[in-house]
């Protein structure tokens, strides 16, 4: 029977033909919908769901069963080249391998692209790109070291370029004055870095955050003023030039560019190894236990985070000094602009764009800024605005630079997923998954679910028609809708089940409720009195209907 005719439905009592239907030969009633609909509706998702289920995040490739546990390893260690999980597909039972951590693959690909870059640069921009590539290599190396200081060691130092500059100037001066060969310059630079680092590491033990940044900025300025005003360091010529170099003047210009490019690339790779050795090993792990504002807890756990921070700072300063020496050996000298405030700001922009604390972030940021600053020269001052916009949007919208997007997106997605989940789980007497795990009797869980869905279904059947029908004839045969409701009421548990109390031999009747406990007498529900038994039956029915609709 269609829903439109629901109100026209008349129920015929089967007892009529027997002549035993008392007062209800027929009654207007409603068509009863399929109870399965309630279950389907309740169990269905109320949010759009994807047909494919969970998207595949991992590259899985087929594998010979005998080689499932074969791994490439870094000789002579047992460390795997890639974090690969060998497994058997649950459905097809085929042997397959799954890369759990794909970052080494991406690193290898990106470094390969940088290494092969010069062979694919367009001829018209060859010079510009080669120069920019060399600058990128050196700046990326500096930023990788800087990210170790700011990210891993959580020391907000702005004196990174001051260390590089000082080492560069002293090594250039030594090379010009005393003819020190180029291969000694990075080593001497490392010594300068060590002294410089040790000097500025001491206040790092006492000063925090903003004050330390101010101190290092002041130090940077001090270096700038000192070097720009001293005659020995080329106050008149804007810097030092003429140091010993590994780039031979007699080579062809392209060869010189190539050597400079690959030397910088080598420096970058060395910086990355340093990052890996510090961040990925004991020191990095110690400091990950002691992030900002949780140092006290880490210290209470026995983590000597101060020592670890200073160690990283000094090691990084040595590396920065090395880069300073390398810089003068590559460019034959160094200019005062290394101490400039704009250099510090540009470096900060590189870190902020890529994301602080990650080597890939430092490199991406450097790549973007160097590309904008060195390659797109024709754009003019608008380049700086573009860098500013990139940095601003990274700071405003992203938690940890452009390399933090994935993590941020995952966190956002988890949050949304939680919201969706809560939107589709309504309680209504049913056990929530959280409490379901704590209920040992699983029959109880199913009973609660069944009862909830039964109530949902029966609520749709409670209409004026069936109430009238019950009022006319509380006992005997009823229409299906009323029968279903009455069946539910009858099998309610004894606790709080309604009954009638007859005050005298002929009434009146009062509604009582059983206690559900042996020996405990029923309680009187209300003071209303019913003159006849049928009225009292209907009174109980109405009370149960009320309870059902309220639940």
């Amino acid at each position: 029977m269609s829903g439109s005719k629901q109100n026209d439905y008349v129920w015929f009592n089967p007892l009529t033909v027997w002549g035993t239907a008392t007062g209800n030969e027929k009654a207007p009633s409603i068509c009863v919908p399929d109870p399965q609909h309630v279950w389907d509706e309740s169990r269905g998702y109320k949010v759009p769901t994807s047909k494919v289920g969970r998207f595949k995040h991992y590259i899985i490739w087929p594998n010979h069963g005998g080689r499932t546990w074969n791994r490439l390893r870094w000789w002579p260690t047992r460390r795997n080249l890639l974090h690969i999980k060998g497994q058997y597909n649950r459905r097809t039972l085929a042997a397959e391998k799954k890369i759990m951590d794909r970052r080494p693959v991406y690193w290898a690909l990106c470094l390969l692209i940088i290494a092969l870059g010069p062979f694919f640069f367009p001829a018209s921009m060859m010079n510009t790109l080669m120069t920019a590539g060399a600058i990128f290599g050196i700046f990326a190396a500096i930023n990788v070291c800087w990210t170790l200081v700011i990210g891993t060691a959580s020391i907000f130092s702005l004196a990174t370029y001051a260390v590089v500059g000082t080492a560069g100037f002293i090594t250039s001066w030594l090379s010009i004055q005393y003819g020190v060969p180029w291969y000694l310059l990075p080593i001497i630079g490392s010594g300068v870095g060590l002294l410089f680092g040790a000097a500025i590491a001491i206040p790092a033990l006492r000063l925090d955050g903003f004050y330390y940044a101010l101190l290092t900025l002041g130090l940077n300025e001090l270096c700038r003023v000192f070097f720009t005003t001293s005659q020995e360091f080329g106050a008149s010529s804007g810097g030092l030039y003429g140091a010993s170099t590994f780039v031979n003047d007699n080579w062809e210009p392209m060869t010189q560019s190539m050597v400079a490019y690959y030397a910088s690339f080598g420096l970058l790779v060395a910086a990355l190894f340093l990052f890996r050795l510090i961040n990925g090993k004991r020191l990095g792990r110690i400091l990950r236990m002691a992030p900002e504002k949780r140092e006290a807890f880490a210290a209470a756990c026995g983590v000597d985070y101060k020592r670890a921070r200073v160690t990283i700072f000094i090691v990084t300063s040595i590396a920065l000094g090395f880069i300073g020496g390398f810089y003068s050996a590559q460019y034959r000298g160094i200019a005062f602009s290394i101490f400039g405030f704009e250099t510090v700001l540009l470096g900060l922009a590189m870190l902020a764009i890529g994301g602080i604390g990650k080597a890939e972030g430092a490199i991406l940021g450097t790549l973007i800024v160097v590309f904008l600053d060195q390659v797109l020269l024709e754009l003019g001052p608008i380049r700086n605005i573009m860098i500013g916009v990139l940095m601003l949007s990274a700071v405003l919208f992203l938690n940890n630079g452009y390399f933090g997007i994935k993590q941020q997106f995952n966190a956002w997605r988890d949050k949304k997923r939680g919201e969706w989940r809560s939107s589709r789980s309504e309680k209504g007497g049913e056990a929530l998954p959280e409490e379901a795990t704590e209920i040992a009797d699983k029959d109880e869980l199913f009973f609660r679910r069944f009862d909830k869905l039964q109530r949902d279904y029966l609520k749709g059947l409670v209409t004026p028609e069936i109430i009238d029908e019950h009022k006319t004839q509380p006992l005997g045969q009823h229409s299906e809708a009323l029968e279903r409701v009455l069946l539910y009421f009858r099998r309610a548990r004894m606790e709080d089940k309604y009954a009638l109390h007859r005050a005298g031999p002929e009434g009146p009747y009062k509604i009582i409720a059983f206690s559900g406990q042996r020996g405990v007498s029923p309680r009187l529900v209300d003071d209303r009195e019913y003159g006849t038994l049928d009225e009292a039956y209907h009174g109980v029915f109405m009370r149960r209907i009320h309870d059902l609709m309220e639940s």
Partner: protein, 121 residues
């Protein structure tokens, strides 16, 4: 052959009651039989049905074996209605010449056959 075997079958009290109940049920079913419930069955042969149709189907299900209908799938995958003989060893017979292409149509055809028996038409 003994005397018992040759004597005509005597209705016992159970059969009397059953026949009486069946007559009453038929009488009732005739009051609720309508085009609507036939149409409802035509649209969906199994699953949840309205109360009158459920009562009609319940009556159909509990008819004695000799009055039951069944379906036979032919070699060409069509269906025909057959009637069980109700006697052991006696094969069923075809009822009518109607051939149904789908099993749903055939099931509905069986219901119509039952209704025909009910109304005596």
């Amino acid at each position: 052959m003994t005397k018992k075997d040759t004597s005509p079958p005597v209705l016992n009290a159970d059969d009397h009651v059953r026949n009486n109940f069946d007559a009453m049920t038929r009488k009732y079913l005739l009051t609720v039989l309508s085009d609507e419930i036939i149409e409802e069955h035509r649209q969906e042969q199994s699953g949840h049905h309205s109360e009158p149709l459920t009562r009609l189907l319940a009556w159909c299900h509990r008819r004695p074996p000799g009055e039951q209908y069944s379906l036979r799938q032919e070699a060409d995958c069509s269906y025909r209605i057959i009637r069980m003989s109700g006697r052991r060893g006696r094969s069923p017979t075809y009822v009518g010449g109607k051939v149904f292409n789908t099993i749903d149509d055939a099931r509905h055809g069986v219901l119509l056959q039952h209704i025909k028996d009910l109304t005596g038409g």
